[in-house]
Amino acid sequence: MVKAEKEGLVDAKTIRIVAYLVPAIGVQPGNPKRIRSLADLGNPGVKIGIGNPEAVCVGLYAIELLERNGLLNVVRKNIVTHAPSCAATEGLIALKKVDAVIGWEVFSKWNPGKIETVFLKPNEVPRIAYIPAAVSSYTTDRASARKFIDFLMSAEGRKIFTKWGYAVTDGEIRKYAPKAVVGGEYALPRNWNTP
């Protein structure tokens, strides 16, 4: 959304935060590979999946997380594939194709029983993500667009997000990472994909 605002693709005055996302590790039910921390992702023989860092936000967050914690070079050799979307990243665990993914905490609520969340240490999380909404600059029906965003932000809209496991307030997500930045931008290091 920061990029969209910069490039004038959305009406900046209409930007609202609908829900917050905190990065976490997703593992197979029962955590058979005993992954307890970010560093465990570098253990020999652990198969890791992440979103495609160049195209999927959760993949970009994964690289930032690893880089900030000095684990990028150790964990990279265990990354066996890149998923084309957030849902596909979660699917890697649901389909039992990898031992762990770096995803969102909310993944475990999408497919209960098929994925378990391993929370990161609060100081390991550099950034909290969010799901924003805004009126597109190309809209042909501004009134309806605004109405939809108003609905997302209404008590009724928030109830739907809460029902499906999303944190809708800054406070709820803060407990996982009190010092993390909310939103903003991270530039992928040039050599992220090469040792």
């Binding site: 495609n52 160049e54 195209a55 066996v80 594939t81 890149h82 998923a83 084309p84 389909l95 039992k96 194709k97 994909n193």
Partner: protein, 271 residues
């Protein structure tokens, strides 16, 4: 009545010719239009620098290597299988025929999903853990391509073997050739055009394979990035120029393969 018949006959013939030629022209223009619009979109200096990039050169190498492997394995299995299907009668032949035809009509992504699920079964896991890793690895690309193209190879080769007059083989037998010698010295040489056509077409189809490859081998940049996967990845990051450059590479390879095929098979007909 006969003169009226012949006059409407001539008019009808013209109308028929016009209709068929129009359809041909529309189809040709459709594809020429697509290629021209691609060419118009391309900035040729960036095109060549993209082509020379490590990512795209790697994708070309990976694609040619995996497709050649997949086509070779397909041909080695499809030649005897198609021969058996063409020349042998056995109970349940229709069922076998249908099963082998399925991959032609089933969507490649469905085949990829089926393979992905297969590798969750005890047998599949045994193969993954003890023999070769396919899921998210380069052998998975070859397996995905093979799964999609082998039906095409069997189909083309069966048609070829069906077209061979069995008298040649019988004459070979009466002159003292063994069944094996007949196959290698009479049947295969007579099938030269069909063999070439199925080899080239299955190879070219393997190069373009995307759905099964993406599902089984994943789409990881520089690791399982074949040319079609490169198009997908670059469209996902809105790098349209790079995607278009790869589209051109695929078109050039396909056109080259078809031209080689035409040349090699026409020669034989002239002789």
């Amino acid at each position: 009545m006969s003169s009226r018949g012949s006059s409407t006959g001539i008019a009808g013939e013209r109308a028929f010719k016009l209709a068929t030629l129009s359809a041909l022209a529309i189809l040709t223009l459709f594809f020429v239009g697509i290629f021209v619009s691609l060419a118009a979109y391309t900035d040729w200096t960036t095109f060549f620098s993209i082509l020379a990039s490590k990512e795209i050169l790697g994708a070309i190498r990976l694609t040619l290597g995996t497709a050649t492997m997949a086509a070779a394995i397909s041909m080695i299995l499809a030649i005897p299988a198609a021969y058996a299907l063409s020349q042998t009668k056995f109970p349940g032949k229709d069922v076998v025929d249908t099963i082998l035809d399925l991959p032609i009509v089933v969507s490649p992504i469905a085949l990829g999903a089926a393979l992905l699920v297969f590798f969750n079964t005890p047998v599949g896991l045994g193969i993954e853990n003890n023999l070769i890793k396919f899921v998210f690895e380069v052998p998975g690309i070859i397996l995905a391509q093979f799964t999609v193209i082998n039906a095409l190879a069997v189909r083309l080769l069966k048609a070829t073997f069906d077209g061979i007059n069995p008298r040649y083989e019988r004459v070979g037998r009466t002159l003292g050739y063994t069944k094996l010698a007949v196959f290698f010295r009479i049947t295969l040489p007579l099938s030269r055009n069909g063999l070439l056509a199925s080899a080239v077409l299955t190879w070219a189809r393997a190069i373009g394979e995307f759905g099964a490859t993406m599902t089984l081998a994943g789409a990881m940049k520089t690791k399982t990035e074949t040319l079609p996967v490169a198009i997908f990845l670059n469209l996902a990051t809105a790098d349209v120029e790079k995607a278009v450059a790869v589209v051109f590479v695929l078109i050039v390879i396909a056109a080259g393969a078809l031209m080689v095929l035409r040349k090699m098979t026409v020669k034989r007909e002239v002789v």
